[in-house]
Amino acid sequence: MNPLKKIFDENERHFAASGKFEKLSPLFDAIKTVFFHPSPKTVVMPFIRDHLDLKRYMTFVLIALMPVLFFGMYNTGFQSGLAAGKTFGMGKSFLVGAGYVLPILLVSYGVGLFWEILFASVRKHKISEGFLVTGMLFPLTLPATIPLWQVALGISFGVVIGKEVFGGTGRNILNPALTARAFVFFSYPVTLSGNVWVAAKDAVDGFSGATALAITGIEGESITRVLSSSGFSLSDLFLGFVPGSIGETSALCCLLGALFLMVTGIANYRIILGGIAGLAVTAILFYLIPGGQESWANAGPLYHLCAGGFLFGICFMATDPVSAPGTHTGRWAFGFLIGFLTVTIRVVNPAFVEGTMLAILFMNVFAPLLDHLVIKYKTSKRIPNV
């Protein structure tokens, strides 16, 4: 027998009912099932089952997030070097960035896991794998400069109010990671807006840590020209060598992850494609409206797509199946409207330079309504059978 299996088997009694660590049994189970994949015998038909389970499902989202995470670490270090007036090499950028990102990630996972275990233990159910994704997504939406206590507070709010009060994974209406971010965004606006996007201990004078979306053109000059002269060329925005949240800067990495998720069938391609279509159509419409040359209204679809957190949001946040609609037509509409709202908020609402988070949360609330309409239409097409 596998020696590791033996250790688990010997210690199982401590975590069983009336054992010493009975309360920690969800944690024990979670660790054990990572090593030894549980596969109980089927008792009702069908007797053979698909190999895909939620563990693999959620792990695949984590795999898709790896390019974003590693690039995020690298870019955090790279930007920090730029701010200090130096150009760091590949290795140094990565190490410096990891120094900023890893603590945030660990706090997010650690505090989030505490709440998960607490609720799993009180409710006597197993720890759902969905948390692995929430705990990773939340840090990636934050600037590297965020104080760790705010990370802890944010993830607590996201897990408890965003998910557990509704009954846990599968029953939440809002995406927990975005709920956490919205909480931090509105409670501590100073840490999530303005020149906070570059982590640097000794920035040179005149360095601005603002994101591309905060840029507005000078009277008479087009936004795209101003953007490229401020270091936000389209290729930089696409590749991600710009200031921003840890995970959002690289459009390329987000697209790689999205491609992986769509090909494997884990994320629903309808949301992603619908979202990109919605963003493109809306951006073109604003572009065609005369005037507003110096504002983001005139930036065109490509800039809107690559700047800010839209791709990160639509690829990883909006595709959360729980808070998205459960019907295919609903998903197209959901994605499209997120794209539409993102551009609209960016262009029309001066209070928020970035609209993705609010667009997704807003559409999360409307997801059941979209489902309701689609199902109503679909059932009206059925031949009644009662």
């Binding site: 030894f36 089927t42 069908p46 089952r49 199946p321 199902i375």
Partner: protein, 442 residues
């Protein structure tokens, strides 16, 4: 011959397809009449232990309609009557005696079929223990003989992917099958005969009777799926269905006046290509399956059968036995293995690149979790249902909503449970919901 197009459903690449030859199974010492595979029945015993019985003697009937009788598949003595929990009748076991003596009914010559009244035909079929092979939608209960169905669907292929090839039976029983078709025309104006695309080439003379060809995608040949794709109005919801082997039995019974005791069955196992078996009705499962690992599971349909106990007998509605492996130990890091030979609807395993048969076993491959709304069940349901939403409606006791979503169109093929990554027993939940509604209504 029309083609029915079915866009959903799933065909796993399974190993163990039986060979299209057949051999005769040896005569067993005992046979049994199972009550476990009969939907909705409330059995009322008509015999006691040690009673002598003939082939065709009624052993139990249905309390809901005592004229529906289930008859002995052999001549001998009632050896044992098995009861399950709450004294639910499970099986009546008959120790066989020679010579085989049949309860003899008047045969109906081919030319006379037209002259016999419909009522008389119904009565004969009920007495012969064969009326119950006609099933009525939506719940697939025994057909109501006072009802005139809009159509009768005859499926040449059985419930499972590995059910007997209809060509083998049809080449032996063409006459009985055609007689059966003529008989059904007395009950309905519209007779639908369906066959899987892959079964067509061996069908021979019977091929001319096929009205609809269905693709080889599971469960395209299920009468429930055929009905869903053919129906145009809600009157057709109460159509009837019958399997080809039962229709042959009906034909033979009327032609000879004796209860037919033969049955073509398949025994399937991974990596084996066994011939079909010409066995007896109610043959003991132990003698049919042969060598067997005690850990493995025997089912009467991998997707929509029941778990068959080794000591039990093949039921009236069953004609395939699938031996499914049980894996040894839990897989180390199972959730992240590349999975070169793992079956999956998703493309989350490397197996989606390979064409060969895939690994199948009788475990869940994970643990139950809450529904995450991933729509895998909707993507696979052959009848266009949204099992996840129906499940939620049923959980909140919104039976009207569930019906509106099409609950009664469910054909219980098992694919929603098969594919669910949260391992929710969707088929069971839907099926139970349908049963409780149907029983309530009756």
């Amino acid at each position: 011959m029309e083609k029915i197009k079915i866009s959903k459903g799933f065909t796993p690449r399974l190993a163990g397809m039986p060979d299209t030859s057949f051999i005769k199974a040896p005569t067993p010492r005992i046979v049994g009449l199972s009550a476990m595979d009969i939907p909705y029945i409330r059995p009322k015993l008509l015999v006691k232990e040690n009673d002598p019985v003939l082939t065709g003697t009624p052993l139990f009937c249905d309390k809901r309609d005592t004229s529906i009788q289930y008859v002995s598949p052999g001549t001998g003595r009632v050896e044992k009557i098995w009861f399950g929990n709450r004294r639910r009748l499970q099986e009546v076991v008959i120790a066989l005696d020679t010579p085989e003596t049949f309860i003899q009914f008047d045969p109906v010559p081919k030319s006379d079929l037209k002259n016999i009244s419909k009522q008389d035909l119904i009565l004969r079929l009920k007495q012969g223990g064969l009326w119950q092979s006609l099933r009525q939608f939506p719940a697939k209960d025994t057909a109501d003989s006072s009802h005139t169905p809009a159509m009768i669907i005859i499926s040449l292929n059985g419930n499972d992917f590995f059910s007997p090839h209809p060509g083998i039976l049809m080449n032996r029983e063409k006459e009985a099958f055609e007689f059966g078709l003529d008989l059904l025309k007395r009950f309905s104006h519209r007779i639908i005969v369906t066959a899987r695309q892959s079964s067509l080439d061996l069908l021979g003379p019977v091929k001319a009777h096929i009205t609809h060809q269905v693709p080889d995608t599971y469960p395209a040949w299920d009468p429930g799926v055929v009905l869903f794709h053919l129906k145009k109005s809600s009157e057709e919801n109460t159509a009837w269905s019958i399997t080809a082997d039962h229709l042959v039995m009906m034909g033979k019974f009327l032609l000879t006046g004796q209860y037919p005791i033969e049955k073509m069955v398949t025994i399937t196992k991974k990596g084996e290509k066994k011939p079909h078996l010409l066995a007896r009705q109610g043959a003991p499962i132990k003698t049919l399956v042969g060598s067997f690992h005690s850990n493995d599971m025997i089912t009467t349909g991998q997707f929509n059968g029941r778990i068959a106990d080794l000591e039990s007998h093949l039921g009236f509605f069953e004609n395939t036995l699938n031996i499914i492996d049980t894996p040894g130990e839990e897989e180390v890091f199972g959730f992240i293995r590349p999975g070169i030979d793992k079956t999956s609807v998703s493309r989350a395993f490397l197996s989606s690149f390979s064409k060969g048969p895939k690994q199948v076993d009788c475990t869940l491959h994970g643990e139950e979790r809450a529904c995450i709304n991933c729509s895998y069940c909707e993507n696979i349901c052959p009848n266009g249902l949204m099992p996840n939403f129906i499940m939620k409606a049923l959980h909140s006791d919104e039976i009207e909503t569930a019906l509106e979503y099409g609950l009664l169109d469910c054909c219980r093929c098992g694919l929603c449970s098969y594919t669910c990554p949260s391992k929710i027993e969707l088929t069971k939940i839907l099926s139970d919901g349908m049963d409780s509604y149907y029983k309530d209504k009756a």
